[in-house]
Amino acid sequence: MLKIIQYLLLATVMIMATEKPTLTIYTYDAFAASWGPAPKIKEAFEKEHHCNVKFVGLSSSIGALRKIQLEGKRTKADILLGLDTSIAQVAKKTGLFMPHELNTTKLDLPVPYTDDTFTPFDYSFFAFVYDENKLKNVPTSFEALIKMPKDFKIVIQDPRSSTAGLGLLLWVKSVYGDKAGEYWKRLAPHILTITKGWSEAYGLFLKGEADMVLSYTTSPAYHIVEESKSNIKVADFKEGHYGQVEVAAVLKSSKHQDLAKQFLAFMHTKTFADIIPTANWAYPVVKGVKLHEAFDSLHRPKQMILMDGLTVEAQRKAIVDEWLEAIAK
């Protein structure tokens, strides 16, 4: 008897659940995590649009894209969220995504952004992060970086497995052009090691293994807000900082296209923009948002270096090869 009641209860719950449409969003794990922005965004959007939102966190945003590609037409995903502009072009080429039909010209971005398929929701800048208590002589440019003493070490990520690693590669390429290979050769002695992902590199830095780590200009905000530590700082490079603009797009195969497009529009509201800074540790793309005071102390580069997605896609292999050639011992 109890069992039957249980089944009935379960059935009611399921019926109640299917009453509302469910919007499924594939993203990277840190975004979907319980401490990430996903839970708050889910709550806010569900309240506004009378629906269910389901975030599916994959090991990386590229992983999420590959999952969608493998699932093909059967994918449950309505939205892919979290690629950056360097990789978004790859996704666009698959033809699985549809135009967003939003006006993105009024967004608060340091660079003009005009893609018709992927639309931005936050951004940050790549930067080298250091501990103020340990490093006194801070390099302020790429040139100063290679002139540091011999035992000065940085840790970076592999561009073949990490978007941060790829970001640095493009940063150096944008600054040095044809001479990028040469620069890498001179930087190589200062590279302690190259890790698979951001986590390993940042972990090494926190353990005190490296003097600086490639991360984001917004990283110190985490330490200020969550740990009340203000000794983690960013080295301001005078060549400018390469940007990472995170984007999202709706899938053509989505059964809830209208709702999904409403979500993209929701990403440009104040509600969404208020959640992003202290949950995803990045800048929102909406004008006039009051940021957490921790962000006031951050160095916010005025100019963002960003290579065009098409160029990146066309040259990625060549740039990676040049890098491999230059720093292999």
């Binding site: 794990d29 073949r160 890790t195 972990g203 011992k329």
Partner: protein, 542 residues
């Protein structure tokens, strides 16, 4: 052939069937990949790939030799110093380094040997000299691989040492053998088969190492084939390329497995009774043995201590109440329980079938025996033969081609991966042991006309008990520590503890991650210390 087969039917058939199924599964996996790629399978391989392959082989070779060397030394010392307090705890500690999430162990190593590790700090304090970043490079890769594998090797080798009949030591003593002669004529023959099977397992493990090699290598010259596979699957999404690289790895491991399984154990080595050795080792020898135990204990235990020190400061009250932690904990533990039971059963059946083809008193002289032997050995090492990224991809494609529910497929994929992962280790422990019981007791059991069940109760079980317990614990902890192939493409319905840990690390939450690592380590250690006790054989207790 038929007559021989009839006699060993119940031993041969189940294991051979499982072996065929495993190989069939592997074939299906590769076939699925083959049908999903766009047909550039025969395009040229990058010259970079050859470079990677060369370094990978070189690095794996060195790592294996060093791991075995350290393993033999340590096992030798422990075997001759068999009575001291905390010995079993030490042996358990040694095994745990292999099954903890690799990255955690490596961070422990860095805490000791790193640029700002304790070693450098102490030398800075005492002599004002820092060794700098010596850890990063080929040396670091080798150090980490020795750390991860030598301890496991020493545990398995210790078992071989302990199975040497004491009569042999008596004989050696009365013949006045030197230590070296004693090792060469008494001990080495007993270790040979274990050395080979463990050696090939370690080689393949180091061959497929990825995160460690990147982390400690320091330069792209020290990359492995796995990097190329990762690039092909994730970045380029070139399934054809991934398939090609996977086939390279498959061929190399096939060659290795065939080479190591072509070896026969000739000397019957099995502990027969409890002849006590009445004499002590010479003073010098004891000194050497104690220093070996001391040095390696420090080497293996200190990095684990770093994990404890890092983790102890975490806010456990909060971590342990996190719903995601609880969910991951339950998922991890239940998956580990099921997969360890499956592993033990499959490992026993495979070893039971395999010994028929390696024993000259059984079917070794029959046609096809060699082939079947190699086949079973290979099927047990599938996990090392197929890159895990490709395994995950293959599973995902199979799921796409079928109509099953995602939950069922994810569960099946995780269980299969966990079992496949533990099998090489389970087999390298069980196969030599079961080979020896057969060698020793076949004649007796056959002349007594024991049935299969009787034979298991009276002959096999008492001798295999402790090995079975160890295999169970090993498989359990492996599954616990595994990141799960499902993390690559799967859903977040399956959060396991290591995945949770990586998630924490990926969003600045290092302190929480250290806390979870600490919980994982406590869990792994308790399983390793208590489970084998439940299986301790009566003979050992006496």
């Amino acid at each position: 052939m038929l007559k021989g087969l009839a006699r060993f039917k119940s031993a041969v058939l189940p294991g051979t069937f499982i072996s065929f199924s495993l190989l069939g599964f592997a074939f299906l996996l590769f076939f699925t990949l083959y049908t999903s790629q766009d047909g550039n399978l025969f395009s040229e391989l990058d010259s970079r790939i050859y470079g990677l392959l060369k370094f990978t082989l070189y690095q794996a070779f060195l790592s294996t030799i060093l791991s075995l060397l350290v393993g033999v030394l340590l096992a030798w010392a422990l075997a001759h110093q068999s009575h001291f307090r905390g010995r079993s705890l030490l042996v358990a500690l040694f095994s745990s380094s292999l099954v903890l999430p690799t990255l955690i162990v490596v961070f422990g190593l860095i805490g000791i040997f790193g640029r700002s590790g304790y070693l450098n700090q102490i030398s800075m304090f005492l002599f004002d000299i820092s060794f700098g970043s010596y850890l990063y490079g080929l040396g670091g890769i080798l150090l980490a691989h020795v750390y991860l594998n030598a301890s496991f090797a020493s545990r398995a080798l210790l078992h071989s040492f302990e199975s040497i009949p004491k009569e042999k030591y008596k004989l050696a003593k009365s013949l006045g053998f030197s230590v070296w002669q004693r090792f060469l004529y008494v001990e080495y023959p007993a270790l040979k088969s274990t050395l080979l099977s463990i050696g090939s397992t370690i080689f393949l493990l180091c061959f497929t190492s990825f995160a460690v090699v990147l982390l400690l290598g320091g330069s792209p010259s020290y990359n492995t084939l796995e990097v190329a596979i990762y690039e092909a699957v994730k970045l380029d999404f070139d399934i054809g390329m991934a398939l090609k690289l996977a086939l390279i790895q498959l061929s190399i491991s096939a060659v290795l497995v065939i080479l190591s399984s072509g070896f026969r154990v000739d000397v019957a080595n099995l502990k027969t009774g409890h002849t006590l050795i009445l004499w002590k080792e010479s003073k010098v020898l004891r000194g050497i043995q104690w220093s070996i135990i001391g040095v390696f204990t420090l080497f293996f235990v200190l990095p684990l201590l770093v994990i404890v020190l890092d983790g102890i400061g975490a806010d456990f009250g909060r971590i342990l109440q996190e719903p995601l932690f609880i969910k991951s904990f339950i998922t991890s533990v239940s998956l580990a329980t099921v997969s360890s039971i499956l592993t033990v059963i499959i490992a026993v059946l495979l070893s039971n079938a395999r010994r028929n083809f390696t024993l000259s008193t059984r079917l070794a002289h029959k046609p096809l025996a060699k082939l079947l032997d190699g086949m079973i050995a290979f099927s047990g090492n599938l996990y090392l033969a197929i890159p895990s990224l490709v395994l995950g991809l293959g599973f995902f494609l199979m799921y796409q081609n079928s109509d099953g529910s995602e939950f069922l497929w994810s569960t099946a994929a995780l269980l299969t991966a966990n079992v496949l992962m533990s099998l090489p280790f389970a087999l390298s422990v069980l196969t030599p042991a079961m080979h020896k019981t057969a060698q020793r007791y076949d004649k007796l059991s056959f002349s007594l006309g024991l049935t299969t069940v009787q034979r298991w109760i009276y002959v096999e079980y008492p001798y295999l008990k402790s090995s079975l317990g160890y295999v169970f614990a090993l498989a359990f902890c492996f599954s616990l520590g595994d990141l799960g192939i499902i993390a690559l493409f799967g859903s977040d319905d399956f959060s396991t503890l290591p995945w949770y840990l990586y998630q924490l690390m990926g969003s600045y939450r290092t302190t929480d991650a250290a806390g979870v690592a600490f919980v994982l380590m406590v869990l792994v250690l308790s399983v390793f210390i208590f489970v084998p006790r439940l299986f301790q054989s009566n003979i050992e207790k006496k």
